[in-house]
Amino acid sequence: MPRRTDINSVLVIGSGPIVIGQACEFDYSGTQACRVLKEEGIRVILLNSNPATIMTDPEFADATYIEPITTDVLTSIIAKERPDAVLATLGGQTALNAAIALDEAGVLAKYNVELIGANIAAIQKGEDRLKFKDVVTKCGGESARSVIIHAIDEAVAAAEDLGYPMVVRPSFTMGGLGSGIAYDEVQLRRIVGQGLHYSPTTEVLLEESILGWKEYELELMRDKADNVVVICSIENVDPVGVHTGDSVTVAPALTLTDREYQNLRDIGIAIIREVGVDTGGCNIQYAVHPETGRVVVIEMNPRVSRSSALASKATGFPIAKIAAKLAVGYTLDEIPNDITGSTPASFEPSLDYVVVKVPRFAFEKFPAADDTLTTTMKSVGEAMSMGRNFTEALGKALRSLDKSGATFHWDGEAPSGAALEALLVTIARPTESRLVQTQQALRGGASIEQVFDATKIDPWYLDQIQLINEVAAEVAAADALTKDVLTRAKRHGLSDAQIASLRGIGGTRAAGESTVREVRRALGVRPVFKTVDTCAAEFKAETPYYYSTYDLETEVRPREREAVLILGSGPNRIGQGIEFDYSCVHAALALKGDYETVMINCNPETVSTDYDTADRLYFEPLTFEDVLEVYEAELAAGPVKGIIVQLGGQTPLSLAQRLADAGLPILGTSPEAIDAAEDRAAFGRVLAEAGLPAPAFGTATTLVAAVEIAAGIGYPVLVRPSYVLGGRGMEIVYSEEQLTGYVERALGEVARSGGHLAPILIDRFLDDAMEIDVDALYDGEEMFLGGVMEHIEEAGIHSGDSACVLPPVSLSEAEIARIRRSTEAIAKGVGVRGLLNVQYALVSDVLYVLEANPRASRTVPFVSKATGVSLAKAAALVMVGHTIADLRASGVLPLTGDGGTLDLDAPIAVKEAVLPFKRFRTTEGVAVDTVLGPEMRSTGEVMGFDEDFPTAFAKSQAAAFGGLPTSGSVFISVADRDKRAIVFPVKRLTELGFEILATAGTANVLRRNGIPSTVVRKNSEGRGPGGEPTIVDLITDGKVDMVVNTPSGQGARADGYEIRAATTAADKPIVTTVAQLAAAVQGIEVIRDRPFTVRSLQEYVKVEVRP
């Protein structure tokens, strides 16, 4: 059955901003889908609000809409483009929900658009819990006993039958949002209350607890000829109770017999048929009782999911790509397996290696949040690794996390006695530390049975961890590091650094690691690289997709062309996410023609780890040891031009110096230049030479010095450890007392980790400053100003969390010229070859340099989308020796002008951050505080794009969350210093017909300025004598449509905290700065006027080239 001839254009819906539970795996799947459809000659229309995606690069679709994913916008696009079909199964839950809404609004029927991949009935059968239960029963499977409820009282009644603990799952939410486990009635009421709110159908499923059961997933695909294949089985090391996204998972399943596996397969195939996923993939989750083998089907996703991205990378079988082909009518047997080139896609991959995925969390960003892992996903990223056995893969996965404390260790005394008893209690509660704690408990002599009783982790895995401990003990006890000892250690995944630590070698970690490496190499203990070939070597593999292992034979192919190695950015984390992967992918695409591009990365969600992106892919941890081995393997295969470290964020950048010291050619900005920008003293000299002002600052390594420096600079000051990304540990400190607290906390951490205190940077904090972000490209002679972004919030909020606008709407030409001169001076002074990001603060006409980063920044994709110039591609070409003049001549960069000389009628792009506060709750179940500060906490971003700033801002708000209100009530409560500034915007709100609610103090100021407002009770005042509600009650009851709450300088006081938490929980817009309020009011005016008009990137480009 060849492809359908009745489909000539397809609208693909993307997944929007990166949020917890929905990350860049949907850029990976969407990009594959767009590629496939274009290859088929189909006109591709794409909607995604996330500019940091590869899929929204103009060349991946015929019409790319970076617009909010709403029914209105989709309707406008459909009316304008008249696609034959909509493909919504590759854009996560966001796209699926958008498709359902379109169907319900009658838009699909009106325009005669077919939903391909999965139809509405199938989506509902798969996602509606009650319908799905019937499906499972029909397919000969079992579900957990359960009840559907629509009100809290019904839940309490149901508890009598189901008993506690009870699992709560809201319908139609993603990443398990709003779900949880209730152990008593109080918790039940709270979790069900939230769940009812998050469920778009106000529906929650309660079910019997299957906590502690073994958890499995199958990834299936079905074509229109009803052929079904299972691509991958995945086993969760963490048993049922921890969301699969937060679990350590393994592929293939390792503790099932064939009979048990085939039983899961039979049920899965019956389900995909019964649900009616016509063409494409689905994911089915199962629980298996560890003692009886009873199987319960947990859920299915009738779409491509995070797990299918993982399964694709784990097996080499590109699920999304195949799903797109199936959606346009091909059958599995008609599609070739890319990896072998000779066999069809209608088969089930066989693995001769083990894949381990580990989640990466960001609890350090949300200190108040409860870090217990539950059925609500909390991780922000993941790393995957492959090895020829579980122990090797696990060791590689843990070091791929790039996080201190994540790897197994044998430091200090093994826990014993009371400490061991306590540890056995601790590990019963799943947290991000549980695996290491489990290893420690086993190290301390706990039996596998004891640890199993506490954790319900299958004894086979516990035995493997025990094995790692035994190997470590052998390493520690060996008379010398012999070939046998080293080989055994490496086969079970120990890193050189771990071996050094076990042997007590070397003064520093790096020195010890180097010594072990030298010994290892002298003894000939080197990794080999095996191919991910989908077929366990049964057929020859055409695609060079490699992983390292300690085994006999390497499979790296020799090559003639010169290679460029590109280091990716590792697992997503707050501050280092998809934006960096975007730049790495662009480098691979830019250099593919002239070089053999080699990608090294360990993040399974990304486009960079698609085997189609670079010429060669190494799925490896981004550590010094692992990168060096890949380099040497490639050097043995052919000439190597060099290695790119400046595109993947801080992870590769921090390896630059050691790699250079080891003799690796670093392309672009040298490690010395990187240091010149990161080292405060060196950077100070660069600025002084160029005559550029910077806020007064100092560096301290002791409390005394810190206090002295801060006193000299004057409070408030900005404090942070040096060498961090995403502003980790950064705070604004207003007093000596606060400063002392900060430094003591830092010293305490140092004492716990046994390291030494990194210097603490203390900067003058510029109050009321306008922050400006610049991305530029420098070739040693000429600078190309990529873009100048004006922050909408004032300085002090991390640039990653701040909304910004490009071109800058309030900067004069003279100011831009000054920014250009300063940026050029820094680029030259530092010695940049490639990308440079500079942050400035403009205060009282003085342009302060806040910091400079000689690498790709988070804003590179945003700037590229907004200006239509691919900065990352150009940067990669500069790094291999092209000049900006070359690139202008060859059309990579515009012939004249740059991002600093945009036309007055150039479109306006607004970037807005998306924050994960909803995901995080304190142990009491209250949402964590939402106030923004210098520490970055957003997970993703959206772009609003239009002809003017107010419209672009309004679009960005609609894309980031529910959007701005057009009527209703606005609550205002601002810090004293902001009271004067709010008068005008609040007045405008009243003119627009909004009711203003305010606390007494704010209301007084408003009244004196002639603005009427209703005084409401503060939360701290409690309800009034007549039961008058407090502001928090009003927000919770949905009676407030927008909240304006600027926190007072001295940190979040209780009232502000409660207000912001309630607003976040109620999903209403919250404005926390005056600048943002001004933008919001302008935006509200626009959306009251007219609906958004939509325009594709391709149309904007057309406008630009018009003479």
Binding site: P252, Q262, D266, T343, S346, L351
Partner: protein, 425 residues
Amino acid sequence: MTTQLHAPQLHATKTPGEVVSDAALLVLEDGRTFSGRAYGATGTTTAEIVFNTGMSGYQETLTDPSYHRQIVVMTAPHIGNTGVNHDDPESVKIWVAGFVVRDPARRASNWRSEGSLDDELVGQGIVGISEIDTRALTRHLREAGVMRAGIFSGEALLAGGYPRPIDSFVAEVRATPSMAGLNLVAEVSTKTAYVVEPLGAFAGKAPLKTVVAVDLGIKSMTPQRLAERGMRVHVIPSASTIEDILALSPDGVFFSNGPGDPSAATHEVALLREVLDRGLPYFGICFGNQILGRALGFGTYKLAYGHRGINQPVMDLATRKVEITSQNHGFAVDAPIGEEAPAPYGEGRYGRVIVSHVGLNDNVVEGLECLDIPAFSVQYHPEAAAGPHDAAYLFDRFLDLMTSGAPSAAGLSAATATTTPAKEN
């Protein structure tokens, strides 16, 4: 099934618990060697070496009589994780001549586990080797083709107290008979006939049909699959005659899978012709497919490295549907694909034949169907064990063939009508 045979050239020197030596050596006929650690029994074993790509089902694989006189390499690295139990074996003993794995489990974990695989291998005297680069070995076998090999461990590594020269191992391997031309059926077939009565929903009821299954190395799941569909199955020794079959008044005759070279199976081919001549409905699996091919006058040939795994895509050419199949064959039928052809044997006495199923990886004949007589067969394993149940419909097709009295199986129980029992086991 009470067959007990001596595994060829196996000198187990290890009893449970006793460790002679840790080292083991795998030696290939072409001189390539792999050093590893002893696994299972220590000693010597030499045989043809083949690889299996299944990620589950090692217990079924080990006890599949078709692996008789073969050393099996598992490409899945972790073997033994779920231990052993008494439900999953496909026959009464382990048949493989040797076992090659990378990472044997130290601890078995499964609610059905009754013991460790290592102990089972030791107990049954199966010499194995572990901790070798099984992928390198598999790639070598893929490129060079299957060949003979030997595993040597313990005392077998020594001669007169000194390590033996490599040449002596290679010579020993090369002295092992090749698989080509070997008739091994008699070595694995039951010596006495036995009956499997209807099972499951049909237990205790009068059989719908009576089938005679000629045991050429039958797996226990096969009669079970027939019995689950209401058939009474008489399993008889391979040396049986047509009179033995007719004496049981069968509604249909079945030939099972089995080891060895089909071109050496002269008795079985002759026996099948007698069955076909009498117009008895016939269904064959694996070796039974090759026997049908030869009975119809087609040739058989040895594949470079065979098909052994549970992920093999096969297309039913009548329905164009793909099934994922369990396979274990080193030989294949040489018949024209894509056209009806007269059966070459006996001047057209068996009418027309088509290739009904084809392997999608390499276009190997995976099924035959006679258009004018009631006979069909597949090269793969619809009984699975280990493997997917996609092809279970073929047992229904056999039942339909017997029930309908149709002149051929064409059009009966297509894959779309799959009636996989909800509960296997």
